[in-house]
């Protein structure tokens, strides 16, 4: 089943919105880690770490494989790239809109000084 882009991105941004999870992703971007290793820097319980990893997995950002007793986690870069592309798109949108606003304000400024000058010469 193909999940809709809005749902996918929504889950990705929800996952990214937590600083602990972002730090976990930073760690995973260097190399794969076990759930235990991910939670260690935060001195977090296995359960709490598991919860965070669950959210990351659900967002498609992390893939978890069980090897014996260890749960190994790996970063899924394609979802991160999707999020980055989404952000870049909005960044472009607002840069362009604010350029347009700049032009509009310049137009209005010119029109204002034109009418002021007219008033003076009369």
């Amino acid at each position: 089943m193909v999940a809709h882009q809005a749902d996918v991105l929504s889950r990705v941004f929800r996952a990214l919105g937590d600083p602990t999870r972002r730090e976990m992703l930073r760690q995973l971007s260097k190399c794969g880690r076990t759930v235990g290793e991910l939670g260690a820097p935060f001195r977090m319980s296995r359960a709490a770490t598991g919860k965070h990893v669950g959210v990351l997995e659900d967002a498609g950002l992390v893939k978890r494989t069980v090897r014996g007793r260890e749960h190994h986690c790996q970063l899924q870069a394609s979802r991160l790239l999707q999020a980055q592309r989404w952000l870049a798109q909005y960044e472009r949108f607002w840069n362009e809109r604010l350029d347009a606003l700049d032009s509009l304000l310049a137009q209005r400024r010119k029109a204002r000084s034109a009418t002021e000058n007219e008033g003076r010469t009369r």
């Binding site: 809005a6 991105l9 941004f13 991160l80 362009e96 809109r97 509009l104 310049a106």
Partner: protein, 153 residues
């Protein structure tokens, strides 16, 4: 690889008084003159700038159906701050909306100079929409500091 944030942020300075820049964001007569991407045109713009009020902007591209942006004003401090939801609905797929939260802070730098800081938080869930996203931002910042200090310890 860098981990993306969940919002975009930009700072801009305009050669205009703060009242005019603020008006450009809230008065539909002005909004329709800059909110359409190149080659598109705003075919409808309405706004009721008060807390709980709504706005609607309909943009039509040269080919294809319109894009409708709607939202609700969460916070309005005239000439200082605007917080509104910004929900985009594309005609290709009206069932799926893209809700974001737009925060614009306005600062008069002079009689004819205004600085704005625009932040857009992406794909806020319906859970976030009910709450105070700005408040959560503060909480996250505190948590971040706490985590950094506990890591160093």
């Amino acid at each position: 690889m860098s981990i993306p944030e969940t919002s975009i942020r930009m700072v801009r300075v305009f050669k205009a008084p703060v009242e005019e820049v603020f008006k450009a964001f809230t008065d539909p007569v002005l909004m329709r003159q800059w909110l359409a991407p190149t080659l598109c045109r705003v075919v409808e713009a309405s706004a009721d700038p008060r807390v709980g009020g709504h706005y609607r902007v309909v943009v039509k591209p040269p080919i294809g159906g319109p894009t409708i942006t709607t939202g609700e004003y969460r916070e309005i401090v005239p000439n200082h701050r605007l917080v509104q939801t910004w929900v985009v609905e594309r005609s290709k797929d009206p069932a799926h909306k893209y809700p974001t939260l737009l925060t614009v802070d306005f600062k008069a730098l002079g009689a004819d100079s205004t600085e704005i800081t625009l932040q857009q938080d992406q794909l806020i869930t319906k859970f976030d929409r009910a709450g105070n996203l700005a408040g959560w931002g503060q909480c996250f910042k505190k948590l971040d500091r706490l985590l950094v200090s506990s890591r160093v310890a």
